[in-house]
Each structure stands twice: as structure tokens, then as C-alpha cells.
């Protein structure tokens, strides 16, 4: 659960030169950021690189963050842009999906886990973006709208469409087919 008060304090301290505070921000958000990047680009190794670069870019641009309490949403915007650039550079995606299966044994996902990741990758990018923002970063409709440059009402509709697509994809993959 992102605690905006804590983020706000840590951002403020980082701006005062306390790098330990930034380490706390990285520790708090790294799992969600890597997960979001993985979902967007489909490659776990690349997702770690994207997450690392996103944290570095966020650190460099921290002074431009108007609302420190919204660090998580702002960081997700950076991750989204980087993932889009990565996708534009590395087509076709099939290669990266194959690469996703080759990982260190200690962190290797189970076969079911990888299959579900691949199922999620079948969703269109626009749905993946909305799902990552809503479910991983827990952004509200207003924040999603701001990130996508649309109205809050439109964000609500997009969330609904993305959830419908997720349901269809999971049902098609042999999950709960009802609904």
C-alpha cells in the first residue's frame, strides 16, 4: 500500500540531500515498478533495466514533482514512457517473450506463472497500461486520466474495458470461464 504521507516526507528529504530517503522510496516502490514494467514490455530482464532507469530519471527530475505525495503515480508515468520506448525499439515482442523463460533458478517462475504472464501479454497495450496503473500502482481514476491525458470519466470507461479484456483473456486461458 503506497503511503502518500511517507512518500511526501521521503521526497522532501531527498531534495534536502538525504540519499537514504531516496533508498527508502526505491525499496518501497521497486516491486510494483518492476511488475508494471514487466507487464508493459513483456520481458522481465528488460523490466528490471527499465525500472532502474526510471528510478534514476525520477531522482534527477525530483525537483519537478509538484505534489510529492503523488510520487508513485508520477514514477509510473516515467515507467510507462520508458516501456513504450523499449517496445518501439524491440519489435517483434515474440523474441522477448521467449527470453522471459530463461531466468536464474532462484527467481525462476513456475510454468503456470509464466503462462499467466504470457496470457496477460495478449492484451492490447492500452489495456495493459490501464491495468498496471490501477492494479499495480493503485492509481485512482483522476491520476490515470492525468497520465493518459483524458477525462476522469473516460478513465473510468477505459478501466472497465481493460477489466473486461482481462476477464476474457483469463477465461480463454482456462481460468474461470463464467461471465
Amino acid at each position: 500500500m503506497p503511503i502518500s504521507y511517507r512518500d511526501e516526507q521521503m521526497v522532501r528529504r531527498t531534495l534536502q540531500g538525504d540519499n537514504g530517503a531516496y533508498a527508502k522510496l526505491v525499496r518501497t516502490h521497486q516491486t510494483r515498478v518492476i511488475a508494471a514494467a514487466h507487464h508493459l514490455c513483456g520481458d522481465f530482464e528488460a523490466a528490471q533495466d527499465i525500472a532502474q532507469e526510471a528510478f534514476i530519471q525520477a531522482y534527477q527530475s525530483l525537483a519537478k514533482l509538484n505534489e510529492p505525495g503523488k510520487f508513485a503515480a508520477w514514477l509510473h508515468g516515467i515507467v510507462r514512457n520508458m516501456a513504450r520506448k523499449h517496445l518501439a525499439r524491440n519489435r517483434p515482442q515474440e523474441l522477448s517473450l521467449e527470453r522471459d523463460r530463461i531466468t536464474e533458478p532462484s527467481t525462476a517462475p513456475t510454468e503456470d506463472h509464466t503462462d499467466t504472464v504470457l496470457v496477460l501479454q495478449t492484451l492490447p497495450l492500452e489495456h495493459r497500461e490501464v491495468l498496471a496503473a490501477r492494479y499495480l500502482q493503485e492509481m485512482d481514476y483522476q491520476e490515470i486520466a492525468q497520465m493518459l491525458g483524458i477525462t476522469a470519466n473516460n478513465a473510468r470507461v477505459r478501466c472497465f474495458r481493460a477489466k473486461q479484456a482481462l476477464r476474457t483473456a483469463l477465461a480463454g486461458a482456462g481460468g474461470d470461464a463464467s461471465g
Binding site: 503511503i3 531522482y59 525537483a63 473510468r156
Partner: protein
């Protein structure tokens, strides 16, 4: 709302905690009648679980690699700094005043610099950049002002950790009280059974400046260090409203006050409701306040941080002194002018 698709969209917003009061009541009424929408709500919850568990279930740690680069950037002075606002007329006037004050400070700093340059041992020598600054300062006429302590000017430029302000944390959290609390497992079990009952309270307590606090070594001299404390605690409780009222009361009972109390997330299905309370209490009550708040439920996180405000305190004190001196001078001139006027009359 007659269209079934519209109801499903409303249920989706309801699951995200994004409905207003009227829509929430309408959705709840509809859910009590429509089995199809109830199933849709359950599917949404189950899909979200599959989604987050799939993507977040793979451990990875980039902390070390990120912080290594952050440290490198800091060493090259590429760290972020607070952004400047566009300069308005008012800010221009303020900036002009600051420049004027700085000019005075530079002139009174001069004797301090010259002494430290002559006597400082190798490890305490200023860096090359500061040497250049000192050369420039030496061209200025010496002021008779009192030596001024300005660590903010020096801390970033002077080599050697000995000259950096040292902070002694004088307040530490005592061990938690011995009274039995609700077992986390019991709370988790209850939370799983009825997710809407799982709630979180976050509270922070900040002390004011502590005048005449402990001494720290600062620019080669022992100075009273001015400290402020920030404490934060995250507590999971069973009943949010009751916990919020108790937490707010705690601030008052400990001689402080509530700055801000807000509900961050209201009425969601899958996630706990969260209240954030920020308040201030006297320094000596920080530990007690945190312990009182900890007794509200199960403590998920708690933290105590000290902040050195010596630079800001010294700057402000100096600015007040200068302003008072200026005011006195003006007052004297006004009196003189008045006397001269009477004499002429």
C-alpha cells in the same frame, strides 16, 4: 440506469472505490437484486488477485544498483534541488533583500575564512573551489562584524566529514508497552473473512525546534544543534472511525494538536480504508504519542527521524539581529531628524 453494460461499468467503479455516495447506494441496491452483477464483482476481485500475484510474485532487487548510481550522481553534484519559482515582483524584492543580507554576511565571514585557511590541518583544508572563493573574498575590505557561523555555505564545499554538522539523536523510542494486543494472525484472518474491516491509520508527529539542545561539532566549533523530530506510525485497526477519533484525541492529550486528518481511500471493496493524521506534539511527548497510537491495533511500521535545522535556525537568528540593528539605526536617525527639525523651528 437500465442498460446492463452500464451496471457492470458502475460495479467496476464501485470495486475501485470510485463511486460517489448516491451511485454507491444505487449499486449496492442493484447488487442485492442482480446475481449476474454480484458474480461480475466477484470475478473482478478474483482477476485482480490473479493479476497482481502473477506480476508481483517474482522477487527482484534493484536497490543496490540504483543507489550506486545515485551516490555517483551526488558525488558529481547532480543531486536534485528544490525548483525555483518564477520571479514575481514580490519575490524580486525578497531576492534583493537576500542579496543585501548576503553581502553583509560575506563581509563578516571573511575573518573566519582567513583564520581557518591558515590553521586548518590537511584533512580539514577547503577544496579547490573554496580556495578560489576565499581568494576573491580576501580582496574585500575586512569587516568589523562578529564572526558568523554559516555551515550551509561550507558543508557542501569543504572536504572532510569532521566539518559537517553532527546530529545526536536524543530521543529514542522505548520498547512497546507490555499490554497484550490483538494478534496479527487474528487480524489477518478477520481481514480475509471480511476485507472491508481491514483499515489503516497513519499518523505523524513533529516537534518544534529545540533551543539549546545538544552541542554538535560544526565548522570546527561546538554549537548548540537545533533539532526537529518526525515520527510516523502505521497501525492496522479494526474500526477506523473509532481509531481516528482516539488518535486525534491522543494529540490533544499529549499537549499537541492535529494539523490534518483525512480519509485517503473511502469505501473500497478490495482495499482497506485508510486515514492519515498529521499532528504536532512537544518533543518530550513524541515517544508517548507513538506508543499511544501503537496501542490502537497492530503496528505495521513505525519510524523516528531527527532533522538538523541548525543552518536555518542560525540564518533566521542572524536575519532577525540584522533587521533589529537596522530598525534601531533608522529609529535613531528619525529622532535626530526630529530634534533637528525642532531646533530649526
Amino acid at each position: 440506469m437500465d442498460n446492463h453494460e452500464q451496471w457492470r461499468e458502475a460495479v467496476s467503479a464501485y470495486a475501485d472505490g470510485e463511486c460517489d455516495q448516491a451511485e454507491r447506494a444505487a449499486v449496492e441496491a442493484h447488487l442485492s437484486e442482480c446475481a449476474d452483477c454480484r458474480q461480475w464483482l466477484e470475478q473482478l476481485q478474483s482477476d485482480q488477485e490473479v493479476f497482481t500475484e502473477t506480476l508481483m510474485g517474482r522477487p527482484a532487487d534493484i536497490l543496490d544498483s540504483v543507489m550506486k548510481r545515485v551516490t555517483e550522481m551526488s558525488a558529481k553534484h547532480e543531486q536534485p534541488v528544490a525548483r525555483r519559482k518564477p520571479m514575481t515582483v514580490r519575490r524580486f524584492v525578497e531576492a534583493f533583500a537576500v542579496v543585501a543580507v548576503c553581502a553583509v554576511l560575506v563581509s563578516v565571514l571573511f575573518p573566519v575564512f582567513s583564520r581557518s585557511k591558515a590553521k586548518a590541518p590537511e584533512a580539514l583544508r577547503p577544496t579547490a573551489g573554496l580556495e578560489r572563493k576565499i581568494t576573491k573574498l580576501e580582496e574585500l575590505p575586512e569587516s568589523a562584524g562578529e564572526p558568523l557561523y554559516r555551515p550551509s555555505l561550507l558543508a557542501e564545499r569543504v572536504a572532510g566529514p569532521e566539518l559537517r554538522p553532527k546530529v545526536d539523536v536524543v530521543t529514542s523510542l522505548p520498547p512497546p508497552p507490555a499490554e497484550p494486543r490483538a494478534e496479527p494472525e487474528a487480524l489477518f484472518a478477520e481481514a480475509r473473512a471480511k476485507p472491508t474491516d481491514r483499515v489503516v491509520v497513519t499518523a505523524g508527529a513533529t516537534t518544534g525546534i529545540e533551543p539549546g539542545g545538544p552541542e554538535g561539532l560544526n565548522f570546527g566549533a561546538r554549537r548548540p544543534v537545533q533539532l526537529a523530530y518526525d515520527a510516523a506510525i502505521e497501525v492496522w485497526v479494526k474500526r477506523l472511525q473509532e481509531a481516528v477519533v482516539t488518535a486525534e484525541k491522543t494529540f490533544y492529550e499529549r499537549g499537541g494538536f492535529v494539523l490534518n486528518s483525512k480519509m485517503v481511500q473511502v469505501e473500497t471493496i478490495r482495499q482497506p480504508r485508510v486515514a492519515e493524521i498529521t499532528g504536532k506534539v512537544p518533543k518530550e511527548e513524541v515517544s508517548n504519542t507513538i506508543n499511544d497510537l501503537a496501542a490502537l491495533g497492530w503496528v505495521a511500521q513505525r519510524e523516528l527521524m531527527g532533522e538538523d535545522l541548525t543552518d536555518a535556525y542560525t540564518d533566521t537568528t542572524r536575519a532577525i539581529t540584522l533587521t533589529k540593528e537596522k530598525l534601531n539605526k533608522l529609529d535613531q536617525e528619525r529622532k535626530k531628524a526630529g530634534e533637528a527639525g525642532h531646533g530649526a523651528g
